[in-house]
Amino acid sequence: MSTRLAKGGRFLDKGKPVTFTFNGKRLKGYEGDTLASALLANGQVMVGRSFKYHRPRGIVASGAEEPNALMNHGAGGTFEPNQRATTTELYDGLQAGSQNHWPNLEFDVGAINAGFSRFLTAGFYYKMFIHPRPLWKHVYEPFIRQSAGLGKAPKEQDADTYEHFNVNVDVLVIGGGIAGLQAALAAGKSGAKVLVIEQTAHWGGRAMVDEPLAEGRIGGAPVDKFVEETRAALEKMPNVSMRLRLMGAGVYDHGYVLGYERLTDHAPTAAGPRHRLWRIRAKRIVTATGAIERPLSFAGNDVPGVMLASAVRDYVVNFGVSVGDRVVVVTNNDSAYLTAIAMKKAGLEVPCILDARPEGGGALMQAAQDLGIPVETGKAIAKVKGTRRVTGVAICVQAGEGAVLKEIACDAVAMSGGWSPVVHLWSHCGGKLTWDTGHAHFRPDVDNPPRDDAGEAFVIPVGTANGAMHIALALEDAEMSGRAAAKAAGHKPKPVATPDVTSPQEAAMEPVWLMPQGAPYELRMKAWLDFQNDVKVSDVQLAAQEGFESVEHAKRYTTLGMATDQGKLSNINGLAILSDALGQPIPQTGTTTFRPPYTPISMGAIAGEARGAVFQPIRRTPMQAWHDAHGADWEPVGHWRRPYAYPRSSESVHDAVMREVKNTRQALGLLDASTLGKIIVKGPDAGRFLDMMYTNMMSTLKVGKCRYGLMCSENGFLTDDGVVARIDEDTWLCHTTSGGADSVHGHMEEWLQTEWWDWKVYTANVTEQYAQIAVVGPNARKVLEKLGGMDVSKEALGFMEWKEGEIAGIPARAFRISFSGELSYEIAVPASQGLAFWEALMEAGAEFGAMPYGTEALHIMRAEKGFIMIGDETDGTVIPQDLGLHWALSKKKDDYLGKRAQERSHMADPTRWKLVGLETVDGAVLPDGAYAVAEGTNANGQRNVQGRVTSTYHSPTLDRGIAMGLVLHGPDRMGEVIEFPGVDGKTYKAKIVDPVFYDKDGEKQNV
């Protein structure tokens, strides 16, 4: 049984007991506990089930590398799955639950999978579920979805708030252990602006646990004194900032770092945001991220109670928790002896230390033996006894094949397979690694660092993260690198005295990748590499045998290292096994790619404040509030919101649209067209420039006249359209689509700046400077005449002309253009007077039947007239010729954007689908996007097609369905009926007709 010890626990405040629940059970802990230490203190060693075989799993580690203890945490709006118990600080009222079991943790139906484990080897999904194909959808997939996966997705909206934070520093130190603190001190004293961040709630790191056990001293004093003094010195420096609970999540190009700060996870009732995402720009990044202990691969190494040796002593020293009364220690290096010493000093039993090295260890082995702990050298664990809890271990020789020498009863096993520097942050942005044979680990290759814009290394690894595995080396390394970082950031480096360090030297470790080295298949298939994804030694060997030789392939085939812990414990052991299977040295196999984030960060932190109303800025026209007050049903158009229609009380949106169309055609409609793009193009070369931008000839447009123009990409495809007005000799005003103004302006600037930079042209996007109102319908002129001012008679302002003046006392520019086929004026006024002008029109128009209309009425009226809409008739693959717009393609011009492209054979192909009108035989409305079928089937057995619907509406004017579409040889097939199968199972028949359904001769707009 794991339990709370009477003494010890340097993190605990025993005066502050807290209560929490695990799977509904009320348990007690102390402030300072993690969820993991509190569970262990309550005897809860088994905390979950494994992913594939649903095997019982216990806590393995004490930090971010924990693979097993993933919890459902919180409830309702604060529920979150997959939270590591080892990094969850305990608070009063915490609710946690174990994952991946059914019906409960102790009894789990899925555990039956373990009985079939011989058949659930690497790649079994690929092998098993291929045939027969229909079974995948109806049998395999539902079953796998039910049994696989870890936590449940939250069902409620996240109740917490989050924020982003931007900061620039000279030197960012990631990691608050002794190396990080010493590096920060050196950089800080040199005058650099320093930020030191530490992912846990405590400064000092591993040395705070290990050095007191090893009787190591810094400057003649215990390590905690050095840490406290250094911390205090840093705290005093105005150029140094320090943050706890802030993890370096990722390192990106040119010194950009994402930090993940957990502000209130340990105190959920505190005010303020829960998490903060730090966006840090640093000239130099010092990674003092320490090292992670590796497990050993022996049969049953996943049984609850088998833990990392470092974690076992962390729980004793930091939390006053013993993981068992009798702990067997198994190791290939000296550090695990500290665990034995810690247990013994806490009054617990260590029946035996198994040291796989034939010669055993150095000074620490002697220290352990002096405490009376038996040490067996050259020995290994053949297998662990027990299922839900360790009950004992069978001992064998490491050199052999697992013949059992004896069995030892114990309730926990502390294992150490050596240490791997945390090289993640070094590697994120391209830092390379080198294999250190002495320590059997990868450490940063400082000759191949991530580089900044000047080509210099911008990440500097220090301490154990740099493979400096003794604290004397680590402190020296950190001091030197802290200075170097400050210097690179432009400061004069000042040395910091390196204190005298006494700490026992460790004997050489010996790589042990499999225990015992000759373990037969029966043992290898119980020797876990990746606990979370259930990958065993035998799986990796099978992958190699089946030809997955690249480490990246073997990873994906076996899923080694692909779980939420991203292989922090498993990767090195896995690739050692792979290398052995391939008969090649480990560096030749290499590692998989380290990608950010270091540990999973919350989606909330990534989103920050960007949610709800502030997710995206909304652009508003001057009349927006009026529309809102008059019941507008909104439609998003780019960043704008436009009224789709103005339904009246008890009127449906559809009925409102019908009414708006009829009223506009019969009386008077008003449209807020302010969103229409407006770009001024001015200069001696403006005409020449617009001749390149538009397919039409714009340079010949007379002052005072308007012309409809098309814009194509250089690839020939139609991208935008709009009316161009010539304002004066060297000024044109280009109208664009509502969504297109910014991109069209960008497009113009791109060509002006990068191709025709010697042309004298200026552009200005004045879209928001004007409010624009379309006054449309037979009564349009009447209302304007009533308001008074500018002469808007047919003679004074003809169709496709524009004029400047005053209407209702407001300065106005009136364009006689029509997108509806009715008598129509589009009137631009200064944005500040838009609302006043709109209200004046509504008031004066009352006697003429004025009503506002929305975008849907606009769309129907343009479709009744056969006018195309960018985004409906075009989709990035359509050229003007497809739409019968040959008349808008100037034949007099040598060149315009898209002209050369439209000469390509595919563009000139007569079988390109062409625009036609479509009239359903029974008056129904064609389904949007429906395809017209042709005879026969294609190579995939699908019906051949001969056209598709691009716009389709119910026309209230004609009281029938009308549509436009692109049809093979369409214009030559007038009167022919073609079929459109709908997704509703019905087949719609439509006759090919002219796309202009209404007022073909244009008499109504030209009055």
Partner: protein, 109 residues
Amino acid sequence: MLILHCPYCGVDADETELHAGGEAHVKRYGPGSSDAEFESYLFVRENPKGVHFERWRHANGCGKWFHAARCTSTLEVFGTYSAQTTEPPQEIKDKISAKRPGWSWREFA
């Protein structure tokens, strides 16, 4: 996230302020060009591991286009310069030669 110096407004701009515009020094072919020329203009691009010339726009800044010479492998930036040129300035080419002797890119070296 890259930092590039905008040669127009003088700001060291974060990548979030910038808009990438693909390869620099592409020669435009219009009507009258052969299919091969037009294809090379519209579709054929370098994909080097090493020295590269790119177009960038300081989109959320001064709005100007400029060119950048940088190493796609180490992310080292050799320099930024005006977009209103058909070839990299000699000064930039010299900087690259100093760091990557023997480099070449399209017709430049």
